[in-house]
Amino acid sequence: MVELAPKSPLAGLVPVTVGRMTLTEVDLGRLTSVAPYRGRDEGLSEALKAAHGIAAPEPGRVTGRVAARASGRDEACAIWFGQRMFLLAGADPDPALAQYAALSDQSDGWACARIQGRGATQVLARLTPIDLRPAAFRRGHTARTELQHMAASITRLGEDDYLILVFRALAGTLVQDVRQAMQGVAARGGG
């Protein structure tokens, strides 16, 4: 019988270290997109709290401890993921959620990366048009935006600490573009 070995989206591509900055892969566990049915938002948030201990995130926000989840802690978090949608990470979705929202398993669909270290903000500033200044984009804020030309989800975990999600098919492009920006920042003494 053939033994198939699972391969993560960024396997063989990371870690990348440039100066003090590192780009690593994050295992967020099971990923489920949750899109509430019209008028069921409150019920969904209650069911989510009962089952997973977190509320549904407001636009541009996360609930639960995303940084802990990204560091490998086995706990659930939710990342706002677009108009009337969020991503439940790190938990098998409770079947009760299905009466309030459309649930889709996205576990194999996303490459999840984390960039950390002094200069990380400058790296992202080269790649995305969003305002990354701490006053505008705080810890626990998240955005759907573009990274170079890729559709991305960017979440701030700390001062120079970000979670980046792009489609799995773009994993190689993500690493190439982020590495190039890291080298550019480091060359100018920023990293």
Partner: protein, 90 residues
């Protein structure tokens, strides 16, 4: 040019896709006369001044937006969710 998405806040133009005149929100009834369908599909004004366009926040939250802007001054006068605007009398 920056557009303030009602969901995401102020964002760069490159996150958005331009779709066309917001007349697309006013689809005629299936049994409307041919003139109404002709106007809906083919006839567009080309105003020098205030215009209502549909934009799609493609690289953001994926919302359809109605952007009111001035083609002469490039001023963006207002942004609303198309789902809120739909059916609104002009």
């Amino acid at each position: 040019m920056r557009i303030t998405c009602p969901i995401c806040g102020e964002r760069d133009r490159r996150e958005f896709y331009y779709v066309g005149d917001a007349v697309a929100l006013e689809r005629p009834d299936a049994d409307a006369p041919p003139e109404a369908w002709h106007g809906y599909i083919h006839l567009r004004d080309n105003p020098c001044g205030v215009t209502r366009d549909l934009w799609y926040h493609e690289q953001g939250c994926a919302a359809w937006l109605v952007v009111t802007r001035n083609t002469a001054t490039h001023e963006v006068l207002g942004v609303a969710l198309a789902s809120d605007e739909k059916g609104e009398a002009r």
